[in-house]
Amino acid sequence: MKLLILLVIVLAIIAIAQLTKVYELSRSLRKNKEEEISAADNKLNANLMLVWMFLFFVGTVFLYVRYGDYLPVSASAHGVDVDQLMKVNIWLITIVFFIVNFFLFFFAWKYQYKKGRKARFFAHDNRLEMLWTLVPGVVLAFIIVYGLITWNKITGPASADALQIELYSRQFDWTARYPGENKTFGAANYNLISTSNPLGLVTPDGIRAKMDELDAQIENVEHQLEENKMMPLLPESYVATLEDKVSRLKRHKQRISDLDENSVNGLSTWEAGNDDRLVKGEMHIPVNKEVELIFRSQDVIHSAYLPHFRSQMNCVPGVATRLKMTPTVTTEEMRKITGNDSFNYILLCNKVCGAAHFNMQMKVVVESEADYNAWVAKQKMFKAPEVKEAADTTLANEPKKDTVATAMGN
């Protein structure tokens, strides 16, 4: 058997060698060498440069015409400035795009190889170099200054009377939190998160429950260690793990007991949080009023992307990030502008966060201040004892599309 395989291999090698010889012989009969580009080939490629340039430019114009109105008119005040800046920049780079690509492909065609012609020995020219250092320099100076003026306008702290809304992100949904009548958010801590308290708002009950839970755990582990002292059955490494666990749990307990003493604006944390309103899957904002969005994340980095408002901000666990904007077009008005009766503003996650990242979205509704106030008043307040019920009703509010993502999140 082995012999047979060997025989086949040897024969195959001989066959390949013979074929190669035939190939080589047949090729040596042809005269042209690969490195000598024939006049016909050179002309063909030169002409293709022009053909390509034509197709490239026509394709570009087609895309601009067909897809150039990439988003409907900005729905926020600062977005108008951004759109203007974008327009100016797009015009500038498009002009440069056409000019530079034209010269590139045109020269490649025009100066194609001609037998007997010698290229012009043109090694450097300081005036030309100066020209294409200074001209881009001046244009860029304009772009930088114009860009930074806009940037300074749209960033910076929000005004004191801006409406604050917290957007809380987690795999794979969004929750909006409104501060309630006292205009103050209750403090939150990730250690207190539970199914009935999804944002981890600090409440005396929550702290107590968590402390009890930790005490029980500590007791359990200490009990194991105690037993082991009397009758050492556990492996040493496991004992070390348990000891480590006890110290971790105690540290944890310390952190939670510290929460008790926090207070915000003279209100104790839970008093401030009691009237907070938590809404999942939908965010309402009043038109023509400055809004400050405060972003937090429960698990990984998410990004709150509001394309219709020209706004985006990352949600980073451990750090609260902020964004200000003033919506100027209500959902109803935008439906008229787009001619689409089912149009809705949308908030999408734009930082990859896991399997259902592509469907982590939230409906955004812009409405008159009166409608907004009425809507907010209808949302249930956060009160620790009743929260289970509240969570149930907010779940019912969710759009159907989100149910898959929510199931994934749990």
Binding site: L44, I93, F122, L140, I143, P317, N344
Partner: protein
């Protein structure tokens, strides 16, 4: 000096080392062989990366459609019924990016051409340290194998995007791809960086110390200049990536909290506070941005050489070209924040990065205009290498211009992490660098293998690749401006994007045709290694030193004494000479002016 050189040469001439198969082809210390090893490894990695991209383009082009080919390749776990799994999709996107950026365009491009060209173009017998050079390749090979192996582990390969931002990448409970696959990714990357550093140090030392007589820095071909600055960028920035990666490894397996704080996941509040996920991003992009130029500069160096040779004209503004390479290299270190405008970074800091980033456009513009002026009144021969170099200038300009939008923080807010970004970097970095690499392969294949590639296949390969490349990436600008985020498994959940998503099937068709076009190259490449037409001494009538070495490789490169250099590398169509090229070894005529 000359005496030792001669002795060295005789040494090589007389007893031809009897090399075993292993020392010649496997653990070789000869830079020419190492260069081929890098190239072939990169080609293999490139095939994998292109296939992955076609897999996820099938899903994006026709979401939910069943493709039995996906099931055949990926099995029931990752493509049940021929529909790509959501986690598998993210893994493919991540590994495609990782392989392309690091293994093909960093290891492959620099590894191949720095190894091949540095000793040959500066007139050295080999790299300063052949042993480190060999280690550099083998670290690269091992890290490649680990990266490929990560595709096969339970839970799948790393899936957090090629930038692997924590906490997503730090927490195995966040997604299946953050388990074993991520650990292997990190280990692979540490080895990769080791390879890159060993190579880079060697390149710099060789260029500084081993130039032959007469090879002043101002006579170096632009390829060598580009490779020198690339190596310096790598040496300065890759160690920062290692630190980022090692800290992430510690967060993952040793309970530290460099990047983690206040996290509640899968029903558990983690015992970590005080870390910052943004620290990782700063460390990562401190490498990540110079990395863009580590990928791009060698390609620009290659195209400078190829365009000048085939236009039969000196490269226009040689010194300005060097100056712009240095300026780009320097600026690339102070722009990383432009990847982080919307992380909550202080807006004023953002302004600083806007300024520095947009400055890079100036040296880039100088380069583009100099290329075009080199073509002006030239005598252009369209070899496949020349076609790819012209294509490179087009992609460099086209992709570079959209960078102006992304650099502008106020505009970046609305297109950050959308397909606009995908379009931008695939054109300016992906296509440009691949074009540069292919130009290099077509141009120096005769030097590597002593045989010629088939020119006609090269033409077909170029035109298909150019059309398909732009066909894939150009429409993505519009998809992105309409608000489509990148790394989305499907867009069917968003009504406001429906109208622009009719582009997606076309993009996927271009991707598939463009991927298939690479088969032309592969056939041409592997066939020509064995059966290509025998190369002549100086097939492109080029000035640089590598074309004075024998077609059949010898250890030590030149059988006799090392060549002496008398002029710069770009005396093409010099009116003081009859021929339209004057190799660097030709002495100056009495009374001849240096350029």
């Amino acid at each position: 000096m000359e005496a030792t050189d001669n002795m060295h040469a005789q040494d090589h001439g007389h007893h031809h080392h009897k090399e075993s198969f292993i020392s010649k082809y496997v653990f070789s210390m000869d830079h020419k062989m190492i260069s081929k090893q890098f190239l072939i490894t990169a080609i293999v990695m490139g095939i994998v990366a292109v296939m992955l991209s076609i897999f996820f383009r099938l899903q994006l082009g026709w979401p939910g459609e069943k493709f039995q080919i996906l099931n055949a390749f990926l099995g029931d776990k990752w493509a049940p019924d021929g529909i790509l799994d959501r986690n598998a999709y993210l893994a493919m996107v991540t590994i495609h990016g990782t392989i392309m950026v690091f293994f093909v365009l960093t290891g492959g491009l620099s590894g191949t051409f720095a190894n091949l060209l540095i000793p040959l173009q500066i007139g050295a017998r080999d790299m300063a340290s052949g042993f480190l050079n060999m280690l550099s390749y083998w670290f690269f090979a091992v890290s490649s194998v680990i990266m490929l192996a990560s595709l096969f582990v339970e839970g799948g390969a790393a899936s957090g995007g090629w930038t692997i931002y924590p906490p997503l990448s730090a927490l195995p409970q966040a997604m299946p791809g953050s388990g074993m696959g991520m650990t292997l990714w990190l280990i692979s990357m540490v080895l990769f960086v080791a390879s890159s550093l060993l190579g880079g140090l060697n390149y710099v030392v060789t260029i500084i110390n081993l130039r032959t007589k007469g090879m002043k820095m101002t006579r170096l071909p632009l390829t060598v200049w580009a490779l020198l600055v690339t190596a310096i960028l790598g040496i300065l920035s890759f160690p920062v990536l290692v630190s980022a990666v090692v800290l992430l490894l510690m967060d993952r397996s040793m309970g530290t909290a460099f990047y983690l704080s206040d996290i509640y996941i899968q029903g558990e509040a983690l015992d970590v506070t005080g870390g910052s996920p943004l620290l990782y991003q700063h460390l990562f992009w401190f490498l990540g941005h110079p990395e863009v130029y580590i990928v791009l500069l060698p390609a620009l160096g290659i195209s400078s050489e190829v365009i000048s040779t085939n236009s039969r004209k000196p490269i226009f503004g040689y010194k300005a070209m060097i100056g712009s390479i240095l300026a780009i290299g320097f600026l690339s270190f102070i722009v990383w924040g432009h990847h982080m405008y919307i992380t909550g970074m202080n807006p004023f800091l953002g302004s600083v990065f806007v300024f520095t980033t947009l400055l890079i456009a100036i040296p880039s513009a100088v380069k583009a205009f100099n290329y075009i002026t080199t073509l002006w009144q030239g005598n252009v021969r369209f070899t496949p290498a020349m076609l790819f170099s012209v294509g490179l200038v087009s992609t460099f300009v086209t992709g570079g211009l959209t960078g102006i939008i992304l650099a502008d923080s106020a505009l970046d807010v609305n297109v950050h992490d959308t397909y606009f970004v995908v379009a931008h970097f695939h054109i300016v970095m992906g296509m440009s660098a691949i074009f540069g690499m292919l130009a290099g392969v077509y141009h120096w294949f005769p030097k590597m293998y002593g045989r010629m590639l088939n020119t006609k296949l090269g033409y077909a390969h170029f035109w298909l690749t150019l059309v398909c490349g732009f066909g894939v990436f150009f429409p993505m600008h519009f998809v992105g401006m309409a608000g489509a985020p990148r790394r989305y498994y499907s867009f069917s959940e968003f009504e406001f994007l429906d109208w622009v998503m009719d582009l997606n099937p076309y993009i996927s068709i271009f991707a598939i045709v463009g991927g298939a076009a690479q088969i032309l190259f592969l056939v041409n490449f592997f066939h020509s290694i064995f059966y290509g037409q025998k190369a002549s001494q100086n097939p492109w009538q080029s000035n640089t030193l590598e074309w004075t070495t024998p077609v059949q490789h010898v250890h030590g490169n030149w059988p006799g004494a090392l060549p002496e250099v008398h002029r710069w590398a770009y005396d093409y169509s010099n009116p003081e000479h009859e021929e339209d090229f004057v190799p660097q070894v030709v002495p100056m005529k009495p009374g001849e002016h240096a350029h």
